[in-house]
Amino acid sequence: MSINSEYKPKIVAFCCNWCSYAGADLAGSNRLAYPENVKIIRVPCSCRVNPMFILRAFQRGADGVILCGCHPGDCHYTSGNYYTRRRMALLFSMLEYLGIEKERTRVEWVSAAEGAKFAATMNDFTQTVAALGENKRLEDLRCKR
C-alpha cells in the first residue's frame, strides 16, 4: 500500500476501565470526532497491559499503539499506573533501541472527564503515525497476506 492521503493507520488504544475508557465514552457522547481506525481495547487498569500485548498488537498489523490510563495519583487501584509508567518507559525505550520508531508508541493519561483530551490525543497520535506510514519493523508477514 502506498502512503497517500487515504492511508489510514491502524491504531490500537488500550484504555483503562475507570478513567480513559470513560473519557472515550465522554468524547463519544459529546460527539467529538476522533478517527474511526482507533480500536479501543478496554483493560481493568493500565497496568494490566503486559508488554506482550503491545508487541502482539504490532504483530497483528497495528501501526501504532497507545496506552491510556488514569492520571498518576488517580489510579482506581491506588498505584497501578505508577507501575505502568515504569514498565512502558523501559519497554518503549527498548523498542526504540531495536530501531522501532518511538512515535509509534505512546502513553497518555486521560481522566473520565477529559473527553476532549481523548479525542485530541487520538487525532494527534493518528496523524503522527500516519506520517510514519505502515509499521514494517515489528510486523508478522504471515498476517499481512
Binding site: S79, A89, L90, E96, E101, K102
Partner: protein, 328 residues
C-alpha cells in the same frame, strides 16, 4: 597474592564433606578436552580428586542449580561462587527461590574466564591443549602447531566488562576479596544508541534473525526461574518454537529480557551460551542502563531483599514519552 588452585578447592570440599558441614558439592567436572567443563554434583572424596576441575573454563554459574539441588536433601550443599555468581545467588535469595540455610557458599576469586569460541576463531580447530601462562595462553593443536594468545583477546565478553570482583555473599571466602569495578559495560549499548534508527534496526534484525529458538539463553539464565515459562505454555499462543517471518524471535527476546529487567544481575550467561553468537547481553544491559538513568543506580543482587525497580515507583518518575531516547 596466593592463587587459588584446583587442589585448594578440592581440599576445602573434602574438609567440609568430612566434618559433615555439607553432603554434596556443586562443582565443575573435567571434560573430554581442555575446555569442556560440565557442572556436576560430587559426593565423595574420590570423585572430587578424580573429576573436579578448576581452570580458566569454569564459566558455569551454579546459582540456578541450587534451586533444584537444595530440594533434594536436608543436608547443606557446598557451592563455589565466583564474584559475579554471588550476585545471582543473592537475587535468587531475594526472590525466595531456595533456602539460604541449605547452602554453604564459598567465595572464590576470579580473574576472568575464557571463551573457547574466541580461542577457536583465533587459533583454529583441532585444539588439544590450552596452557595458561602469564597474561597469555598457549594453544596446542592436533597438527603440532602452537599459538600464544593474549588473555584479553580470549576472555569471555562478560569478563572483559567485569562489573565486580567483590563477593556480595558467602559463608567463607578463599583468597583475597576484590572490589567493585567501574566497568565499561555500557559502552556497547551506547554505541548502538548512537546509531540511527535504521542502523539499529538493521543491526538487531541481523542479530535476532540468527536465533534458532533453542531457549538456551532462557534456560541458563539464573533470573529465569518460573516453573512454567509463558513460552512453553500452549495456551499462551506464543509457544511457537518457530522462527517465522522475523516477528516471533523479536517477541521472544524482548519479552525474555523484559521479564528479567530489574532482576538481571548482568552475569552474561545468555550471550555465553547462545549457539548462534547473538549478543543478548546488550538487550539486558540496555534495561539496566535505562533503569540506572531513569530511576537511579540499581544493581540486582547486590543486596539481599532489595526491591527491584519494576516493582517499585516514586510519585515523580519520568513519563514514558520523556524517557524514550533520553540515553542518546
Amino acid at each position: 597474592m596466593q592463587k587459588i588452585t584446583r587442589e585448594n578447592l578440592i581440599n576445602k570440599a573434602i574438609e567440609l564433606l568430612d566434618n559433615g558441614t555439607v553432603s554434596r558439592v556443586l562443582g565443575w567436572k573435567i571434560g573430554e578436552f581442555a575446555y569442556d567443563v560440565t557442572p556436576a554434583v560430587f559426593t565423595t572424596k574420590e570423585d572430587l580428586q578424580k573429576d573436579f576441575i578448576f581452570d580458566d573454563f569454569c564459566n558455569a554459574n551454579f546459582s540456578k542449580y541450587l534451586i533444584a539441588e537444595t530440594r533434594k536433601a536436608e543436608e547443606k550443599v557446598l557451592v563455589f561462587l565466583k564474584p559475579c555468581d554471588t550476585y545471582s545467588f543473592n537475587q535468587l535469595l531475594t526472590e525466595h527461590r531456595f533456602s539460604r540455610e541449605k547452602v554453604y557458599a564459598v567465595g572464590i576469586p576470579c580473574e576472568g574466564m575464557l571463551d573457547i569460541g574466541k580461542i577457536k576463531a583465533l587459533a583454529g580447530e583441532g585444539i588439544i591443549d590450552v596452557i595458561p601462562g602469564e597474561g597469555s595462553i598457549t594453544v596446542k593443536n592436533l597438527y603440532e602447531e602452537e599459538k600464544t594468545l593474549a588473555y584479553g583477546d580470549v576472555l569471555t565478553e562478560r569478563c572483559l566488562s567485569c562489573k565486580s570482583k567483590k563477593h556480595v555473599v558467602y559463608d567463607e571466602l578463599m583468597g583475597e576479596e576484590g572490589d567493585v569495578i567501574d566497568s565499561n559495560r555500557f559502552d556497547e549499548v551506547e554505541k548502538i544508541e548512537k546509531m540511527s534508527a535504521d542502523e539499529r534496526f538493521a543491526f538487531w534484525q541481523s542479530q535476532l534473525s540468527k536465533c534458532i529458538r533453542c531457549n538456551a539463553c532462557r534456560d541458563i539464565c539464573p533470573a529465569c526461574t518460573c516453573e512454567k515459562c509463558v513460552f512453553d505454555n500452549p495456551k499462551s499462543s506464543v509457544n511457537n518454537k518457530a522462527i517465522s517471518d522475523s516477528f516471533e524471535e523479536k517477541m521472544f527476546h524482548i519479552i525474555r529480557a523484559f521479564h528479567v529487567a530489574g532482576r538481571c544481575t548482568d552475569c552474561g550467561e545468555c550471550s555465553r551460551v547462545c549457539p548462534q553468537g547473538i549478543p543478548l547481553h546488550l538487550l539486558n544491559r540496555k534495561f539496566i542502563k535505562d533503569i540506572n538513568s531513569f530511576y537511579g543506580d540499581y544493581q540486582a543482587g547486590q543486596e539481599e531483599g532489595s526491591r527491584a525497580p519494576l516493582i517499585n515507583y516514586t510519585f515523580d518518575d519520568l513519563e514514558p514519552g520523556e524517557a524514550v531516547g533520553r540515553g542518546v
